[in-house]
C-alpha cells in the first residue's frame, strides 16, 4: 500500500485529502497518478494538470520518480509561501 495526500486547491477540487492505494511497487509517481485516475476518472481535469507538483516521502520530485511500498506520495498546486 502507498499513502497518497492532496493539498490546497487540489484538495478542494477533489474534495479529498488523500487515499490509500494498492498498487504494485516499485512504480513511478506517474503510475500512481494513472492508477488513481482509473478508479476516479472524474478527477482527470484536476489530477492531470501539468502544473501540479509532487513529492515522494516529503521530497519534491518529478513524475518519473520511483515509488516504493509504504511511501507517501503527495500531489499539490505550485507553492505560494513566503
Amino acid at each position: 500500500m502507498i499513502n497518497v495526500v492532496f493539498f490546497a486547491q487540489l484538495r478542494e477540487q477533489l474534495k479529498s485529502d488523500g487515499l490509500s492505494l494498492d498498487i504494485p511497487t516499485p512504480c513511478t509517481v506517474q503510475d500512481v497518478q494513472q492508477s488513481i485516475l482509473t478508479s476516479r476518472p472524474e478527477w482527470q481535469d484536476f489530477l492531470s494538470n501539468p502544473a501540479l507538483m509532487c513529492a515522494v516521502n516529503q521530497d519534491m520530485v518529478q513524475l518519473t520518480a520511483p515509488v516504493l511500498e509504504g511511501n507517501e506520495v503527495a500531489f499539490f498546486p505550485p507553492v505560494t509561501g513566503g
Binding site: Q9, M60, V79, T80
Partner: protein, 159 residues
C-alpha cells in the same frame, strides 16, 4: 530545530515572532560576524488585483520543516555564513501580520545579503506552503507568479 549551531532556527508556527528577539539571537556571543541581514514578509492589503482582507496559510506538515532545513543547508553550503534563523507562520493571518522571517549572520555583508535573498527565493518555490486570500468577493487561492520562478532561475544559473 537546530541546523548546526545552537543559535540556528527553523520554525513553522502559528504564533507571531519578535524581530528584535531574532536579531538578538543572531548577535549574541558572536564577535566573529560583522554583518546581519534579515527579511520579514508581511500580509499586505492587495494582491493580483484584489483587495485582500486576510490570508490563510496551509502547509504540508510532514514536509515543511524538512524542506526549509534543506534550503538553509543549501545556503550554508554556498556562502560563508554563520547563523540562520528562518520562521514561517501558518494558519489564519490578518493585514500587516508578519508571515516570514529570514535572518543571516556572516563575517561579510555580501554573503549575508545573498544568502538571505537566496533562502527567500527558494522558499517561495520549493517549500510546501499555499496562501488562500480572503477578499470582499470571496476566498481565492494565490496563483504562482512567473517572476518567482525567474528569481530562482537566477540562482540556478549561477551554480
Amino acid at each position: 530545530m537546530s541546523v548546526s549551531d545552537q543559535h540556528d532556527l527553523v520554525s513553522v508556527q502559528t504564533h507571531d515572532f519578535d524581530v528584535a528577539f531574532e536579531y538578538a539571537q543572531l548577535r549574541a556571543d558572536n564577535a566573529q560576524d560583522g554583518a546581519i541581514v534579515f527579511f520579514s514578509g508581511l500580509v499586505r492589503d492587495f494582491n493580483q488585483g484584489q483587495d485582500v482582507t486576510g490570508l490563510f496559510l496551509e502547509h504540508y506538515p510532514a514536509m515543511t520543516q524538512k524542506a526549509l532545513t534543506g534550503i538553509v543547508k543549501k545556503a550554508k553550503a554556498r556562502w560563508p555564513i554563520n547563523r540562520v534563523r528562518l520562521i514561517h507562520r501558518v494558519g489564519q493571518l490578518h493585514l500587516s501580520d508578519q508571515i516570514v522571517f529570514v535572518g543571516v549572520s556572516s563575517s561579510h555583508r555580501e554573503a549575508a545579503f545573498d544568502a538571505c535573498h537566496f533562502v527567500m527565493d527558494y522558499l517561495k518555490k520549493q517549500a510546501p506552503f499555499w496562501k488562500k486570500e480572503t477578499t470582499h468577493k470571496g476566498d481565492n487561492w494565490v496563483q504562482t507568479l512567473e517572476k518567482d520562478q525567474k528569481a530562482l532561475d537566477k540562482w540556478q544559473k549561477d551554480d
